[in-house]
């Protein structure tokens, strides 16, 4: 299986502090991967680097067929390549309706002129309705996103990610602030998504990771400490040391 994303030996130093230290990582085209690690391990910074928000000091980030380098692209170009990202905190456009939020995320040309010419079509409206139904927001489609509950905002954001149909989905701590039922729904959704695309899930919660039932990468001090099945990594003495040793 050839890799969809391949990260080779990246490092990033913030004010003398090595947040990412010679990190390598790769993921296949249809694969679910959990990334765990203690606070400050560099999980969010890793996502920042892949999505173009942060430039690494060294290393390579290669993408898809032909191994294009992502380091030469800006955030918007990387997003258009098909990398979607869900932030830790739900970030939806609160002053706009659920429908408007979803419409913006729909697959379509992104340039100003193309957006100016864009008109809603029966197709686009059906797609918005379908997405809203998928994330359980059918009854709220004309409401402002700002009025939704925290969990509903998370779902709206997931809906927006689905709308753009990314090839790689980066999800930062999706379970934070969710109820048990919502967590279960979320794991089901993530597993289903990973059938057709690559999904990287950053998570603290071990139960949640266990339910994902996938390969796990353990980050510590900016590099990979262990990789394998959850049972495999939790038997690793280094991992036990990191998680239990402090």
């Amino acid at each position: 299986m050839s890799a969809l994303l391949e990260v080779r030996g990246i490092s990033k130093t913030f004010d003398g502090f090595k947040a990412i230290n010679n990190l390598s990582f790769s993921i296949g085209a249809a694969e679910l991967r959990a990334v765990i690690g203690p606070n400050g391990a560099g999980k969010t910074t890793f996502m920042d680097i892949v999505t173009g928000k942060t430039r690494p000091d060294e290393g390579e980030v290669l993408w898809a067929e032909g191994s294009k380098s992502l380091l030469r692209m800006n955030e918007a170009q990387i997003a258009r390549e098909g990398i979607g990202r869900k932030f830790q905190r739900p970030t939806v456009f609160e002053d706009q309706t659920v429908a408007e939020n979803l419409t913006m995320a729909l697959k379509a040309e992104r340039g100003p002129l193309a957006v100016l010419r864009w008109r809603p079509s029966p197709d686009s409206e059906a797609r918005v309705a379908e997405l809203a139904a998928e994330v359980g927001l059918s009854d709220h489609i004309e409401r402002k996103a700002g009025e939704l509950s925290h969990g509903q905002k998370q779902w709206l954001e997931i809906g927006m990610l689905l709308a753009s149909d990314p090839r790689l989905l980066l999800v930062d701590e999706p379970a934070a602030g969710m109820t048990l039922a919502e967590r279960e729904q979320t794991t089901t959704l993530l597993c289903r998504l990973a059938e057709t695309r690559a999904v990287v899930v950053v998570e603290h919660d071990m139960d949640f990771v266990r339910r994902l039932n996938c390969r796990v990468t353990v980050l510590h001090q900016g590099s990979v400490l262990a990789e394998g099945s959850l049972d495999h990594v939790t038997r690793n003495p280094d991992v036990i040391e990191v998680y239990l040793g402090r």
């Binding site: 456009f93 609160e94 992104r110 957006v115 700002g146």
Partner: protein, 411 residues
Amino acid sequence: MTRTPFVLRHPSVLVVLTVLAVFTAAVTAGSAAYGSGAIPVSMIKLLGKTLCLALAAVAMDLVWGYLGILSLGQMAFFGLGGYMIGQWLMYARTETIVAAQLAQQPIPATAQELQDAVTNQIFGVVGSSELPLVWSFAHSLTAQLILVLAVPGLLALVFGWLAFRSRVNGVYLSILTQAMTLALALWLFQNDSGFRGNNGLSGLQNIPGLDHVGQATLSVWFLWASALALALGYALAAWLVSGKFGSVVRAIRDDETRVRFLGYPVEGFKLAVFTIAAMMTAVAGALYYPQAGIINPAELMPIASIYLAVWVAIGGRGRLYGAVIGAVIVSLLSSWFTGGRAPSIHLPGYVVNWVDWWQVALGLTFVLVTLFAPKGIAGLFDRLSGILPPRRHGRDLGPDQGALQEKEATA
């Protein structure tokens, strides 16, 4: 699927355009040239100028209220529009006058002599006898009309490209826009910049070729032109901020980073809105200064742009009609209070003279509006039409500096 026509989806556009049409008709009916003559020419000019300011405010609202950039240099574009049309007005009129004088001489003047005489007439005040390069097209109305759009548009494009590309945001961007207008004003103040230094351009109320028409009629024509420009500008702005484009623009205001991760080229959108707004402002300026009669570099000083921001804030940013209302009410009140016609208030031991105190009152109003009614005058309309802020749990609508506060958002 049939789409409801644009004006029906946005009834406020229809209301604004109707009010504008009724207003224009009423003023025309009161003018000396086309009606009863109840409204003096100076008043008609004031109203015409006010419509131009309202157009500048609509553009400011696009940039600030919708895109989230508090530009404190918008009046640079207004002034540039004025200078560009002013060049032709001054050149062409001086040419007519000089040609008439030279015609009295026994030997007919050559084209070069004519141009030299015009140059002397215009640039004598700054001790120059050569036509500056920047006046190369001043003889041509068409060329100068193109420049009205092209020069401010290009300035906005270059400035915006540099600023947005390096991701300057918030207060720093505001300061940068202010530096831009200040630098432009200081450059224009110099005699050798070719725009007559602090003398500015004058006599702009006399339109070449229309000497026989008279100011009473001309003032009404300019009122019509200003009203038409405002109507078109308003409709254009309303169209821009509706639909998906408007959605993206407001999203950039509230959370620019997030918009990038959706794949939108944020800089391109900023540049488009900033440049369109600059050109709208320039058209407003090009219609304003022929009614004012004179333009000088002081008009481009940052304070003018700050006033524009104050009008939009008082009217209600993020509402196009708010910008119009704010600009009309505050600028008319300003000229009333500072024109010395407002009755002074006699307090025991002190006389409040409005010419001195108006600025203070305006500043105070601005602070009060910002604190207690961030939606400005437009907020009253929202309340009447039942638009209430959403009941929400968070406060700011987004982490960016330009994001609307909770109190400003519509339901």
